[in-house]
């Protein structure tokens, strides 16, 4: 018979599988040293998906405009290192801060809506920012992208073409943000977010300021998405308009749904599958790449409504 505290301890505990998973993220350095650039792209996408998971998987906010924050972070980091200071960590912090401010401002509108209106709103904000960045070509380079971004050294390591520094940097930031997310979901605030997802009507009836909770989660997610965007800028030394595109918002949603929302690792697993599949399939035939991802998405949503991780966890529970 478990006692009351251990019921909570059990959920917070690090599982062996988790430790093994994070150790495995180091494998690309030795096993696939030629793919470190891809690995770093995956880590960045995983962080982006993780930030979406915080609002979608935990608080139940569906967003089709999450790239807005990714883009704000990417441009902020790009402009900062081009014009002021090329040291990446400062730029990273600044990008996170700026996208957090944008997220906080937007959250006042976003959290008042649900369902279709929410999807349209987030999409609308995303399109607005995309077009704004396109128009402000003097600042952002418009459709040509922001050129001449220089990323300085990180603790004396240069960002070279092999991507060693890039992957180490992206992975470290992903891991730190993951730790923060893990902390958040196992905190009182995380429980409140799950409460909102599970029953938004009941929350006010137990005295919960739901809108304040939602604003906070939206802001935290925006910071993380901005950090992911800054990582992309630092590791590629360029910012293209695509960072703000609708496609990027849609992709990250697909990634999270494939992996499984509301379980922290869903976005990461989704990012690995999606990015590796894209790399392989588009190598064979670039036009048909979305055919396969479409097929995979239909199959997952039909047969594994909780995503690939949800399916695996159900399988594991059955076998016990």
């Amino acid at each position: 018979m478990e006692n009351a505290s251990s019921h909570f301890h059990e959920k917070v505990r690090w599982r062996w599988l988790e430790i093994v998973f994070w150790l495995c993220t180091l494998l690309p350095f030795v096993v696939t040293p030629n793919y470190l650039s891809l690995a770093s792209q995956i880590a960045i996408t995983a962080l982006f998906a993780l930030s979406l998971d915080l609002i979608l998987g935990y608080a139940g906010i569906v967003s089709l405009g999450h790239a807005a924050f990714f883009g704000v972070g990417a441009y902020a980091a790009g402009l900062f290192s081009k014009y002021y200071f090329s040291e990446p960590l400062t730029g990273l912090a600044l990008a996170g801060l700026l996208s957090g401010v944008v997220g906080y401002a937007m959250s006042h509108v976003i959290v008042r809506f649900r369902h279709l209106a929410l999807i349209m709103l987030t999409m609308g904000f995303g399109l607005l920012l995309h077009e704004a960045a396109n128009s402000a070509s003097g600042l952002t380079g418009g459709a040509d992208g922001l050129q001449g971004v220089r990323t300085g050294t990180l603790f004396g390591f240069k960002f070279d073409m092999f991507g060693r520094t890039a992957y180490a940097y992206s992975l470290a930031v992903l891991f730190l943000c993951f730790l923060a997310c893990r902390r958040i979901i196992h905190s009182p605030f995380g429980l409140a977010l799950r409460g909102i997802r599970e029953n938004a009507t009941r929350m006010p009836a137990i005295g919960a300021p739901s809108l304040a909770h939602l604003r906070k989660s939206y802001t935290i997610a925006a910071v993380m998405a901005g950090v992911a965007g800054a990582l992309l800028t630092h590791t590629t030394s360029t910012v293209s308009l695509e960072v703000l595109s609708f496609g990027r918002s849609a992709d990250v949603l697909v990634i999270l749904i494939l992996g499984g929302a509301g379980r922290l690792y869903g976005g990461i697993i989704g990012a690995i599958i999606y990015m590796v599949a894209r790399d392989q399939f588009s190598g064979i035939n670039p036009q048909y790449w979305y055919f396969w991802i479409g097929l995979l998405l239909v199959a997952v949503v039909m047969f594994l409504p909780n995503g690939i991780l949800g399916g695996l966890s159900a399988l594991y529970k059955k076998s016990k």
């Binding site: 009351a4 505290s5 909570f8 429980l191 009836a205 137990i206 919960a208």
Partner: protein
Amino acid sequence: MLSTKNLNKSFGSLVVAQDIALELPKGVRYALIGPNGAGKTTLMNLMTGMLRPDSGQIFLDEGAETEEITSLRPHQRVKKGLARTFQINTLFPQLSALESVALAILEREGISGTWWNSLPSYRNAIDEAQGILKSLGLGNDSFRMTKELAYGRQRLLEIALALATRPRVLLLDEPAAGVPKDESAALFEAIANLSRDLTILFIEHDMDVVFRFASRIIVMVSGRILVEGPPEEIARDERVREVYLGKAHVAA
């Protein structure tokens, strides 16, 4: 404890609350009865702020003072000590019973915005949650997911969640709705055993239960309060008989 003054609410041309004036003193167990569509749940929604009245005021006693709460949002009224349960289970399906009640306690204590401390470190809240569940006979169900609980247990969890907010006034919307008759008696027994300081207003259709557990009864018909008084008086009241028996005659 809780009072309303000239509360009015209409949906279009349908009047659902008309000049509702009530005063619920401390510790009294009120039953709110009336035929379907009389506006009983609407009244609860008005009191808890889930609906806004077209006119009128709502007051809640705070110690010796009386405070108007008409403009407060639902979660703010809960903070003032006014809690409710729902006729249709309004729970957190994928949280365990213990998590659900702990959440309500953390909200009450104002620490639900804390995101840097881990849940197990809130021993007091967890123990209190477990205590509330035990007091309602849910001690053995606390670790199970809400959606896996039997229906009758879920009805008890409804009450546990409201109690976790430490209310001074508790509004129960058909607490035994859908529960078999023998279980419903046990459920009301649990309600009757709640602290005597608690003011309770419950909606119920089963007259046996109403007359057994209520110290006063409010009868509502078409958005108006028909009569309010102790059970003996209500049982003798001609108008009440007409509302209930009149309907029975028609049915016969």
